[in-house]
Each structure stands twice: as C-alpha cells, then as structure tokens.
Symmetry: C2
Subunit: 345 residues, 2 copies
C-alpha cells in the first residue's frame, strides 16, 4: 500500500506537502497540488491512512456505548428502553459528527473492553460485579455512568424512589390491596421468586436503581397500611418472555402488578391475553420507563416515565464536552393510560 512518503517521492515533494494536499489544500500552490494529485492517482493512493492519523492526533472521533448489566450489544436493539437510549446518544453523535461504537462487555471482558476500545469517551451502563468506574478512570477518558451514583464522576440517573412511590400511590388510590412486584434480575439466569415469609428482607443484588425502587414501593405500600413483606417479588432479566407467566402463576391473587420496565409490563400484557385475563378489568399493570412502545400496547400502558432519549443525548453531550464531573438526577412522572383501573368488586 502506498504511503504519503511514496506519493511525495513520485511527485517530487515532501511528505508534509502531500499531507497538506489532502488536509489543507488551500496551503498548496495549485500546480504542485495537481502534480501531487496526479502522483496519488498513479499510485492508487486514496488519502492518508487513518491508522497513522490516530497515532499522531491521539483521537478517534468516536464514543463508546456499553450496555448495562448482562446485556450484549444485540440486546440494545431488542429492549425498548435501550433502543431509545441509543437513539438519544446517536442524535448527539450525529450532531457532533462523531462515530458511535457499540462496545460489548459481557462481564469479565468489560474491563478489557474499556482498556482497548477505540474511543474518546464512554457511556457506561452500570454492571453489578465489575469495577467499571475504576477501569474507566484508569483509561483516563471522559465517561458517564448511567443509573449509578458516585463522587467526582459524571453520572445520570433517574429518581427511582419517587417513581416507584407514585406508581404505588396511583394503585392504592384506586383501591388496590393485592400487589405483585416484577423486579429486575441484573445477571443472566432464570426468574427468581421471593414469596412472602420465605425470604429475607434483602433481594438479590441489583443496581442502586433497583433498591431505590424497592424502597419506593415499600414506602408507598406502608402509606396504605400494607407491607412489602407480604408482596410476592419476582425477579427476571428484562427481556425474559416468561416473566408474565411466572407472575400469574406465582401471584394469582394480585389485582395490581408493579414492574420495573415497560418491557416486562409488555410481557405481562401478552401473557394476560394468552390466559384470557383482561387488563385492566381483572388486573392492573404499571410499566416503568415510559418508552414509545408503552403508548402502543393494547391497552396502552400506565407507566412511570422519564425522558430516555434526552438522557442518552445528555450523556453523549457530557462525554463530548468533557467538563467537570456532574451528577444529574432526572425527574420521573406517572403517565396514566388504560392499563390501570379500580379493582373489581
């Protein structure tokens, strides 16, 4: 493969001039420029090799996005939530003319991914086991971590506690007394069921966000003289298609199902159709996230919404701006649609 220097030799000019022909043509006299271009054509040289540029400039013009938890990059296309997050990130990347690299990071390999990715900054979804923040720090690149707090680092998270609280209040106001909670399992594996009595207070390890939401649920239930300890809690990975079935099997008496993502709520809705259970007549369902998908289900989903696209965009902008660390908490809001109603008689 010809290089800048080869072209220069043929055209009888220096490397620097050839470089200028491609990058700053206005600095080169036109006859020289033409000679260089002719030489380049003759050698089949099509402009500076990005590899050399990267070393010299030290920049990749790309940011990396790593999915949270046990997700692979393919899951970012499947999850309604992640899809909107990626949309927001890509909007900012489009504007900044920067490439978006979807970097994989299943568990152990996450840290090596961080070490080796060809990016100028990261957006990290949080992981349970791994010291992502430490790895990211060591790489000395700007980064934002989502749904996780931390001093002196960029983070964006939602107010999960309030979100959970308003969801429960909405349902208790409607008169519900029998709940089930569909919580998130953050590691790969089958659903975990915690029935009342048969469990410790603490639930399987999750993200900070998950504990917060559980707390919010507990507070809301307590306000209605109910205890979360009497509520079945089922944990599934977000895309688990069996989530709905497990809920109906293990909590048949619930009149209200609280979930931690729209994706899970959709699974519940699908299973309800399969079993001839009608929503909201027999059972009320509340989603979480407020994805576009939640507005298009049958019935449209009541959900705890936040601006996912805006979150993704903001995350990308923070990475790109590389300013001093900020911790941002995004507000949530209950969007009431048709999947919740008073319990029957």
């Amino acid at each position: 493969m010809p290089t800048l220097a080869d072209v220069g030799k043929v055209a009888g000019v220096s490397r620097g001039t050839v470089s200028n022909v491609f990058n700053h043509p206005e600095l080169v006299r036109s006859d020289v420029r033409e000679r260089v271009e002719a030489a380049a054509r003759q050698l089949g040289y099509d402009g500076p090799d990005p590899r050399g540029r990267v070393l010299r400039d030290g920049k990749f013009n790309a940011i990396g996005l790593m999915p949270p938890g046990a997700y692979a990059i393919a899951d970012m296309m499947r999850s309604p939530y992640l899809r909107e997050l990626v949309l927001g990130v890509s909007l900012a990347c489009d504007e900044a003319g920067v490439t978006l690299s979807l970097v994989n990071g299943m568990d152990e390999s996450r840290t090596s991914t961080i070490r080796d990715a060809l990016v100028d900054g990261f957006i990290l979804g949080h992981s349970v086991d791994i010291d992502l923040v430490g790895s990211a720090r060591r790489r000395r690149l700007p980064f934002v971590i989502l749904e996780s707090a931390g001093q002196d680092i960029n983070s964006i998270r939602i107010d999960g506690r309030s979100g959970a609280l308003i969801a429960v209040r909405h349902l208790t106001d409607l008169g519900h007394r029998n709940f089930a909670i569909l919580s998130v399992r953050r590691t790969a594996g089958p659903p975990i069921v915690h029935m009342p009595g048969s469990r410790k207070h603490a639930i399987t390890a999750g993200f900070a966000l998950d504990y917060e939401r559980l707390e919010g649920f507990a507070t809301g239930l307590a306000e209605a003289q109910l205890s979360i300890d009497d509520v079945p809690i089922i944990e599934t990975i977000p895309g688990d298609p069996t989530a709905g079935a497990v809920v109906f099997d293990r909590a048949p008496d619930a009149t209200a199902i609280l979930t931690m993502s729209d994706w899970q709520a959709i699974s519940v809705l699908d299973e309800a159709v399969r079993r001839g259970i009608s929503v909201p007549e027999h059972v009320s369902v509340v989603g979480f996230d407020g994805t576009a998908a939640s507005a298009r289900t049958t019935p449209p989903l009541t959900t705890v919404a936040h601006d996912i696209v805006g979150k993704g965009r903001l995350a990308a902008e923070m990475v790109l701006a590389n300013a001093s660390p900020k911790q941002i908490v995004m507000p949530v809001e209950l969007v009431v649609r048709d999947s919740t109603a008073q319990p029957r008689g």
Copy 2:
C-alpha cells in the same frame, strides 16, 4: 501519560518485556513480571495504549455499518427494518468479539466517512447519488453492499420483484381492483404524488430494489388486466408520519394499499384509526419487510417478509470472513395476517 518505555525504565527492563507482561505474560519470568507490574502500578500505567497498537497491528477490530439512503444513524433506532438489521449485525459482532461502529454518512460526507472510519470492513446501505462502491473499493477493505447488485463485489439483496408480485396476486385473488401504491422516496423531502395521467412512466430515482418492486407490482396488476398507469403512486421517505394521510387524501377510492415497508404500512394503519376507516373491512393494507413490529399491529399486518436479522448477520459474517465476492439474493415470502380481506360488496 506513561508509556511502555517509561514502565520499562522504572522496572529496569526493555519495552519488549513490558509489552509481553501485558500481552503474553506466560513468556515472562514471574519475578520480572511482578517487578514490571509494580512499576506499572507506581506510574499509573494501565496497559498498552490502543493507539500504538492500531498503527502497529493495522487492525481496528471493528466493522462499520452505514445506513442506506438519507438515513442518519439515529434513524436506525427508529426504523423497524433497520433495527432488525442492526440486531443481526450485532449478533455476528458479539460472536466475533468485534466492535460495531455506526458510521454516519449523510450524502456528500459518506465518501469521506468511508475514507476515515476506524474499521476493518463495511456494511453499506445503498445510496442514490454517491459512488459508494468506488469509495469502498479505494479503501481496500472488505465490504458488503445491501440491496444493490454489482459484479465482483459482495452484495445481499432480496427478490423484490417476486415480493411485489405475490403481494399483488394476493390482493387480486381476494377481488381487489382499486389500488394505491405507497412507494419509497430515497432522498430527504416531502411526499411526491404521481397521479394517473399526470405522470411519466418513470418514477423518481430510487434504489434498484424500488424499481424491481414497481415492476413486480406492474406485472401482478397486468395479470389481472389492470395497469399500473391507472394506480396512484405516492412516494414518501420511510419514516414519514404523514404517509398514511397522503394516501387516504389522494387515493380515496383505493380498496387495497400496497406499501414498500412495514413502517409505511403502520403509518397507514394509524391514519386509518384516526379517520375511522377500518382495516381490513374498508381497505386492505400490505406491508413489506416482515419486521417483528408487523406482527404486533392492530390488526396484524399482511406483509412480504424476509429474514432481516439473518441478512444483517450474514452481511457481517461476509465482511468478517473477507472471502471472494458473492452476490446473494434472499427469498421473500408472503405472510398473510389480518390486514387484508375481500373488498366490500
């Protein structure tokens, strides 16, 4: 920032040995390894800088995906079709441990994107105006182009002609005689309406796929003694939310609407709801692509389906394998659901 050489100096060993500690630790005696690791810790050196590695190895361990037509990378999250395509690509990337770079390419900048992207190969969605193939060739990297033919290059396309044909046959078999066609506009801009009589034979520039499909429609109509020249043809960009409205406004007598993507068909379905037109009682609608979304609409969409995820996966595998050029044509199949029925009396 410390470098390999700095670490070597502190540990009293050569650069090569430090490199081995990080990349081939089994080649280094353990006491030396520990000394090097200590030196690295002391200097805050966290492993070889990927910039140097890229220059030396000449590989990026990434493939680039460029969206077709006037799409930006954000649109890949919006379009049901592209979303599945990206899913397929990312599945193959996950398996190969390769990063997926979403590279932008609005029109003129596409070729420079190809020149500069930090990837080992490309998957290109076709573009109308630009000589993508030429640029990709010059970069001398393996690439696949989608929905576009070409000698001596990798390409994957669907059999659009047959797809269009079976869609029309399905509708004429049901007894439909009044059609409208919702075609694709491949450049940015508002809908273009071609009414019978007021148009030339040729339609606005599109992809090869679009012409093929128009041909297939024409053939199918001719089989039923109908002429495509009597059919209103409306061209919209795929995500245009007004597509449905334009169709109903300009082709109010149609009992059957042929589209070129599920996304457009969904827009028609939405507009039908808004106007109180019921599908399939008042009007039949056929989608194209066979996305997962098409199975979840109300009513579920009859559509010309192909294996989009498989296509994306295959494209990535071809790029990764870098074998001799293949031209692949994928079969299509009519999936009959509930959006088509006999026309009313």
